[in-house]
């Protein structure tokens, strides 16, 4: 007799009939059991600077072994990686890479961390957790780039083996999440609070999309929420939108818009703000919140100068939050 299954990994709570898959395209009900179809089957493997994730407060100038599988539980109109996130694994080129092989490859290539990224690691949850446990035992950090659309119980299990998470804090309204990503905002807010509660290092990214989430009031509200609920020390990266996927009709985000967002964030009290996708901008650098000196100077993803010693500003000895060793 066919058994209906309810997946409880993400807030969609897909009810999946026999032989069918969840919204993410990679979890399937087979004879009454739910299986992940992408375990050990990444379709993207790269070595990237950790700054690309982006993590600016985690092991600067180190390499991160980055992997992803097909699928995603969001459907963002602007997705840069839609070829893998919006396709099932039948339509991606997949490689066999067991959790042990992933960790071995990271070690062999002198990567200090493994990054679960590109699509969304929520949908290859079991694979990511198993790699993370092995990596942790070898002293390799586990870092995630995610939309944070995940239920609390699996998130807490994940936090136990994860060192840093960058959440795409896409917007501050339910309308935005519904219209842009076919998702909801509230679970993402809860996820960010859970991550902070667990002490996992958190950085946030906000992709500023012209006409969608670039109003000054929205940016102010987003920054205010961060300060009130997560703390002023959580780094926030404003990222420049480029016409992509289903939003090729829009222009790239004007630099002036990003600079204004940066000013608003600083005014709201956030200590560490950045502008991404503009390689030579001064807002790529990390500044000491106490004396204003340049702590980490970057161009693009390359670190040119690092003045953080023992986790502190070398000029005034102020402790700088992050994972520096």
């Amino acid at each position: 007799m066919a058994t209906l299954i309810e997946c409880k990994l993400c807030p969609r709570h897909c009810r999946i009939g026999d032989g069918q898959r969840g919204n993410c395209r990679v979890r399937s009900n087979i004879d009454g059991k739910l299986f992940t179809l992408v375990y050990g089957k990444p379709c993207a493997i790269h070595i990237d600077p950790i700054e690309k994730k982006p993590f600016y407060h985690v092991l600067p100038a180190t390499s991160s072994f980055s992997i992803a599988t097909a699928g995603c539980n969001l459907h963002c109109k602007y997705c840069q990686n839609w070829q893998i996130s919006q396709n099932p694994p039948e339509q991606t080129e997949n490689v066999d890479l067991s959790p042990q092989a992933a960790v071995d490859a990271a070690i062999k290539n002198r990567c200090r961390s493994i990054a679960y990224t590109y699509s969304d690691p929520v949908i290859f949850y079991e694979y990511a957790v198993d790699i993370s446990r092995l990596a942790k035992s070898k002293g390799i950090l586990n870092v995630h780039r995610t939309a944070g659309y995940i239920e609390k119980e699996p998130l807490e299990e994940l936090c136990a083996v994860t060192d840093a998470i960058n959440v795409d804090f896409k917007g501050i309204t339910e309308d935005f999440y519904r219209g842009m990503s076919e998702a909801t905002l509230a679970p993402v807010l809860d996820a960010m609070k859970t991550i902070r509660k667990w002490g996992v290092w958190l950085e946030l990214t906000n992709l500023v999309v012209p006409t969608w989430n670039d109003r000054e009031e929205d940016i102010k509200n987003l920054c205010r929420w961060i300060v009130d609920n997560l703390g002023a020390q959580v780094p926030l990266h404003f990222s420049r939108f480029w016409p992509m996927h289903q939003l090729k009709n829009l222009p790239p985000t004007p630099v002036a818009t990003l600079e204004r967002a940066y000013e608003i964030a600083r005014k709201e009290g956030l200590h560490f703000c950045y502008i991404g996708n503009i390689p030579d901008h001064s807002a790529n650098n990390t500044y000491c919140p106490n004396d204003g000196k340049v702590l980490v100077r970057r161009i693009g993803f390359t670190v040119l100068e690092n003045n953080i010693v023992g986790g502190k500003c070398k000029f005034c000895n102020t402790a700088i939050p992050g994972i520096w060793s």
Binding site: T3, L4, I5, E6, C7, K8, L9, R15, R27, I30, G32, K33, L34, F35, T36, L37, V38, Y39, G40, K41, I45, H46, I47, P89, E90, E93, N94, V95, D96, L97, A105, K108, N109, Y125, E126, Y127, E151, E153, P154
Partner: protein, 60 residues
């Protein structure tokens, strides 16, 4: 906007930097990894997911 014509020297310089980058990042190892173990779908062994329940008892 004025466009700049790439000279032969620029082209060789860019190519040289690119080749040096490939060597430094050992792309060859990854190409070997990708080609030697490339496998299509479906996987030979399925792994059971976590965080799910049976839903037969739910109405609707």
């Amino acid at each position: 906007m004025e466009t700049k014509t790439m000279t032969r020297r620029d082209f060789l310089k860019t190519t040289g930097i690119f080749m040096a980058g490939l060597f430094l990042f050992r792309i060859k190892d990854f190409l070997n990894l990708m080609s030697a173990k490339k496998n299509n779908f479906p996987p030979s062994r399925l792994v059971e997911a976590r965080h799910y329940t049976r839903a037969d008892h739910l109405a609707g």
